[in-house]
Amino acid sequence: MTAPPPPPSNVLRDVAEIAETPGHHGQMAEVLARVRRVVPVQAAWLALLDDRHRRYTELASFGYDGRILDYFGTTPMLDQVELVGLTNSALPQRAQESPVPLNELPVWADYYFPAGFRAGMAVGLFTPDRRHVGVLVLCTDDPEHPTEAERDLVAAIARPVAAAVDPIRSLAVLAQVVRDAGAAAVLTRAGEARPLPGLPGHRLLAPDSALPGIALHQASHCGGSASFLWPTDLGPDHDDRSGLLQVTVLGCPTAPPSVVGILVLSPLPGGRSVLTRRELVTVGLLLEGWSDEHIAVGLDLPLGSVAETIARVVVGLDAPDRHTALLRAARQGWFIPPRPGRPPQG
């Protein structure tokens, strides 16, 4: 490999700065402008992988006509990027280095060549943990460009560009605000928990778990962020104070539209809750607006027993009355929320 000249450190810093403020799509045009400063190209397209719909979503572009841009957003485009190996390798590839003849690639034969482009380069964007997150495509009308040196320069800036486009990056940092975060996931609008790079998953975050849906429901009633307790097992010993995790949802409105925020699980201090499971479930129902009578029916308990439970909650939370106790529990996230549409358990 020819050693590229070290890029001037201001270019590195420019791109690194962009990487520090992820999620703002307006800045992606700035990324392209900075790439254009080091590599003379007529057209560029920067796009994020939408793996669910098997296509790329444009973040920024210049120089391509509407017909090409429409084609870029299709699954056949992703298929061709895969075919030439750019979803498996972080090395940039110039058009003449393509393992597939260009006239066999529809994007070249039917789009680039007719539009007057003669050469180009593409690079798959990867995070440091090797997840493919997007693609950067560059085209020129000059067959002499891009040169090998320009290709190597693009190799050097591809990583910070990848970091800038990776929407999950900022979410991983957000998870760190929860002390002792034991596990975390990205919470989607569909109520799914997706892996969060750098943080372990958990059984409660698996696809068959009810927790992500409940977390979504709680967060949507709390302005995006919420905190509550959830049992790690379903052996309902009503007096148990252990086997519970603190669940925190942090909403992230600047994340991509499919993402609500992150879901973090952390242990309780000392591993034990101040309230018993029965008390936590009762508080969860009271916070949802259930009356004592409804709770008695829902939990299949005598009304007097519900009143006794609430009286123990008030004492347990060191509160002067029920009102203050409920606000204290809501503030601390000390309750087990009911499952929407299901009878309460415990």
Partner: protein
Amino acid sequence: MVELPPGAAEIVADVERIAALPGDVRDRVPELLRVLHRLMPSGASMVHLLNPELREFQGLGGSGYSEVIVAYMGSSEHYREMELLGMDRDRPPMRVRDAPVPPGELRSWAEHLEPAGYREGIGLTLFSPDGRHLGLITLHTDDPAQPSDETRDFIGLLAPVMADAVDPMRSIATLSTIVADAEYGVVLTRGGNVLPLPGLPDHPLLRAEAPVLEVAAAGLREGRVHNSFLCPYPVPDDQGRHVRLTVLPCPVSAPAHLLAVVLISPAGDLRRLTRRELQILGLLVDGWSNQRIASQLVITQRTVAAHIEHILDKMDAPTRTLAAVRALRLGLYVPLPLTRIRR
């Protein structure tokens, strides 16, 4: 023009790659030091992050130094030594032989490093693009010929990218993305001071010792991870205007002296709640009785009851408790210490 040592391009690319790694500073530091070891075979190295409140360095990723030396390097005496050497300013890297004072007069050299067998070393000051002093990287070696002028100058070239890699504000600035339309923000320190948050301007409500910051700190003491509330901020043509405050603890990886990020955004949908009603919601959230609210606000209990009727209607809540719970969760209340804020 700086002479480039062999492998310079790869080293630049590696440092840039490390600086772009997401997440925890502590993961980036050992990798950075490994790259520097390739430039200068050295026996010991460490990143020293500045705690500007204590004027001490916090060692990160140290290797090779004895416990006693590490302890000394974290002392305020060591920081004063660095000040004496001018290492608290954005300057080119300094080797022991470049020092403006005889090394024998420095305690760190005379009592610690030289007796431990080190013969040379280099210190690299780290500054952010906006001029914040972030700290220092030190490398020490038993080879008196290391590092060459060429290596020293090349390390100096890498300094801005290395500073990026260890800048704790990088991950903290990311937190501001939790509020879509944050317009102002600061970092609150454990000492009650405020530091600028990169990317957002500060605000008069966020000055040190401002009541807003005391309310923020109280919520953090309770262990709240996400805390949001309102503060009146009248403007001449809108006397009822409020702004929204959001408080988030700093990530665990941030330096210990940084406590939380405090952000200001537009108040959003206030559900037609008046300034008085938002104030009463603040008292309900704190568990106040109607009687106590009446005497605090110097109004009759009947007036309080009338306000609460309106609040229940606007909060779509059947009881005062549920209205307060809803207000707490949505951050639709003005905490008592903020009710008297005027411009």
